[in-house]
């Protein structure tokens, strides 16, 4: 058996020639700041001369759009939803992730099988069944788990547009309002992640701190994984200008657009 996979190989995929790229998974609950960190990571790696590809849940060509549409209708049973996500994941693994790793890319994935398993487990699906289902997943070279306390999570979620139907777990919880459901659901998810941390070898990153402080940690871990891949050695840990996050700002920014607007505003301030 090919040890790059957790339990069973992907049928028809031969990894004997090896994968020259690296697979890095960013995990963590909703609103923890994964996408911000992904963007900074990508900018930094690319400026260091590495080819980067990023992917995330429901971004697959086969099933991605249809999962989104089915979620809007709230019509999916929990096992059906779980398997639909697994289909999307299998599609991305085989058609995007593995080919790009063969080609020597650094593949960043915003969530991996762990989020999918956690979401399904809190909804009552059997952990053994889930582990076996995702037995075909490739073991990442690095799993960064952005860990945040629920107390720090709440304001971030509220700033980012409030509570989402699925992210609050209201589809399976009997809470009368989204806030109570959210607290219960996220607590349950955090417990699932904690269970998985040892088993799957998560590298835990404290995401209760500023974006920059969190990123510094991430950068140090990623540096070790991509060592030797960069054309210029040693790798610089300086961020390209657009991705600099002002130290003074404690609020998390959720999109590059926000940061660009912020940067432009500060430039105008200086000009005056």
């Amino acid at each position: 058996m090919d040890s790059r996979f957790y339990e069973v190989p992907v049928p028809g995929v031969n990894l004997e020639k090896g994968l020259s790229g690296k697979l890095i998974a960013l995990e963590g609950t909703d609103g923890v700041g994964r996408s911000t960190q992904m963007q900074m990571l990508r900018g930094w790696l690319e400026s260091s001369g590495l080819a980067v590809y990023d992917t995330g849940l429901t971004r697959g060509n086969l099933a991605g759009r249809h999962i989104q549409q089915a979620k809007e209708g709230h019509t999916m049973g929990r096992r059906t939803q779980c398997l639909f996500y697994a289909t999307d994941f299998a599609d991305r693994l085989e058609n995007e992730i593995i080919p790009l790793l063969r080609a020597g890319y650094v593949v960043l994935t915003d969530r991996y099988i762990y989020s999918l398993m956690a979401r399904a487990a809190v909804r009552g699906l059997e952990r053994d069944w889930l582990r076996s289902l995702y037995g075909f997943a490739l073991k990442p070279d690095l799993i960064l788990y952005l860990k945040v306390s629920l107390r720090n999570l709440q304001p971030r979620v509220l700033t980012a547009g409030g509570f989402d139907y699925w992210e609050s777990g209201i589809d399976y919880l009997c809470e009368g309002n989204m806030f109570d459901a959210f607290v219960k659901h996220q607590n349950a998810l955090l417990r699932e992640f904690d269970h998985m941390a040892d088993e799957y070898g998560f590298v835990v990153v404290d995401a209760n701190r500023t974006i920059r402080a969190t990123f510094d940690d991430i950068q140090a871990h990623v540096c070790r994984v991509v060592e030797g891949m960069s054309p210029g050695q040693p790798m610089s840990t300086t961020l390209p200008p657009l991705l600099m996050v002002p130290e003074t700002r404690r609020e998390e920014r959720t999109s590059v657009g926000d940061r660009i607007r912020e940067l432009l505003a500060s430039l105008f301030d200086e000009a005056e």
Partner: protein, 235 residues
């Protein structure tokens, strides 16, 4: 698989390669049950409206690798289990299925998926009360299917496995692999084997004899629902 005796209803499924005659037989059982006054729910492989577009997209654009092929069918099966199979079983009705998890065990493994992995994947399936397996020699099934050289679809022919460039040749090779798997499965899961080369009426008689003892106490149709018969049959 999950035990079926936790439900009052009964689940009857038919399995076999293309051209084994299973769909004809389950359709006749369906009509027989309705005529006898029973409520019978019919669920067909690959029919969930939720994933239909994805399956269609995958098939027409040939995006499905064996793994994704397996998982999209499992998604379809889960949706039908949650929606069309467990609720009527709980209500005490007869549920009929044209193809069941065994189809995945045969096809997905013929496509290279790990046999144990596929079996665990379908671990949530309700074990049928009776699972009929229509055994026919490959030549008989091919004769029935290939008469008039119909159009055989890409995945039906197993063209994704690159067994042959010729659709008909590929179809034969793929069906051979599936048949091998079915014979193993029939033994492993104790499927009820029906000789698919017998005349249709003889096969039907055997099936009815096997189904009959399970019918007592099953949910009956409302007395005045005769006109609804057709819609239910379609459904």
């Amino acid at each position: 698989m999950q035990p079926s005796d936790q439900y009052q209803g009964k689940l009857f499924v038919v399995e076999g390669i293309d051209g084994s005659g299973k769909s004809t037989q389950i359709d006749l059982i369906h009509k027989w049950l309705l005529a006898r006054g029973y409520s019978a729910f019919f669920s067909e492989w690959n029919s969930s409206p939720l994933v239909k577009r994805t399956t269609r997209r995958g098939k027409t654009r040939r995006l499905l690798n064996p793994l994704a092929f397996s998982l999209i069918h499992a998604t379809d099966f889960a949706d039908r289990t949650e929606r069309n199979i467990i609720p009527p079983l709980k209500a005490g009705a007869a549920v009929l299925a044209d193809r069941y998890a065994y189809t995945a065990f045969a096809r997905d493994v013929a496509r290279g998926c790990d046999p144990e992995w596929v079996r665990r994947l379908y671990g949530f399936a309700v074990r049928p009360t009776v699972a009929f397996y229509f055994r026919v020699p490959l030549a008989v099934a091919l004769d029935r299917i290939l008469v008039g050289r119909p159009e055989i679809k890409w995945y039906e022919a197993g063209m994704d496995l690159r067994l042959s460039d010729d659709v008909y040749e590929s179809f034969k090779l793929f069906q051979t692999r599936i048949l091998e798997q079915y014979d193993r499965i029939a033994e492993e899961f104790g499927l009820t084997v029906i000789d698919g080369t017998l005349p249709i009426a003889v096969q039907q008689q055997k099936m009815r004899e096997i189904v009959e003892p399970f019918l007592e106490g099953l949910l009956r149709r409302p007395q005045d629902s005769a006109v609804l018969c057709r819609t239910e049959t379609d459904g």
